[in-house]
């Protein structure tokens, strides 16, 4: 997987969906892991209902689904440490950083624009 790959790129994953109602969040996380296997410089941003993906205590066993949120805990091992949650998205939903599964930085929407501009590519999910 590493032979003759192009240079690492800065790739930002923009996550805007709540988990379980749609499979898109889970599929986004699979793409993040793959990008990390390719050695890319990864940034994760959780916006709008996407912040719910990081909520602690998820347990989808009674809806017969996999608890993919456990994988977030492994991201640091994969070298993915740049994780942001948008401030107003958190506030509107009554969420605080201590309710999240992993350490995340609060970012304001006005700062997010600059973060997006720094990237080589942005993948929205």
């Amino acid at each position: 997987m590493t032979e003759q790959q192009p240079d690492p790129k800065k790739i930002l994953f923009l996550n805007r969906r709540a988990p379980y109602g749609s499979s898109l969040p889970r599929e986004a996380l699979d793409a993040v892991l793959m990008a990390s296997a390719f050695g890319q410089e990864i940034t994760l941003v959780f916006l709008e209902d996407g912040v719910f993906q990081l909520k602690k205590q998820q347990d989808p066993s009674n809806i017969e689904m996999k608890n993919f949120s456990k994988t977030f805990g492994a991201l640091a091992l994969y070298g993915v440490e740049s994780v942001y949650v948008e401030q107003r998205s958190m506030e509107k939903r009554g969420l605080t950083l201590d309710q999240l599964l992993i350490p995340a930085k609060i970012i304001q929407s006005s700062e997010l624009g600059a973060l997006l501009e720094e990237q080589d590519q942005v993948l929205s999910f």
Partner: protein, 130 residues
């Protein structure tokens, strides 16, 4: 310029694959290069050879297939997302002992790495969401 497209919407249900198809035609017309079209999430259904719309309506999988043949395109369906949703080629059908397969000509099943590789090597990666 090198483009790649990512398509997440089911054909005939969401407009996203229609838009992506028109966009692909337009960029090829302008002489740009289309490195890959990656089908993920419900976009995988774009590769069904069994799609049978009424004869006076568009057939999206067939259109992709023809475009791929004309321009030598790389149409990749995410194998994990595709298997889950019942998009199989002959090899996967055999491997999982399924009674049939349904992948349209010109499409291939491959890993999610193809999305990332396309993102790395393309000047523009355009997502057509569902």
């Amino acid at each position: 310029m090198i483009f790649s497209l990512a398509i997440y919407g089911a054909p005939f249900s969401s407009q996203s694959s229609d838009t992506a198809y028109q966009f692909a035609c337009a960029l090829l017309e302008q002489g740009h290069s289309l490195h890959r079209v990656f089908f993920y999430h419900d976009g995988v259904y774009n590769g069904s050879t069994l799609a049978t719309p009424p004869q006076d309506e568009r057939n999206i999988p067939a259109s992709w297939s023809q475009l791929a043949e004309q321009h030598g395109l790389d149409l990749v369906i995410c194998v994990a997302a595709g298997l889950r949703r019942g998009m199989l080629d002959a090899t996967e059908s055999d491997r999982w002992e399924k009674p049939s397969h349904n992948l349209e000509q010109g499409f291939t099943l491959s890993g999610l790495g193809q999305l990332i590789e396309a993102t790395m090597v393309s000047d523009r990666m355009i997502t057509f969401g569902n």
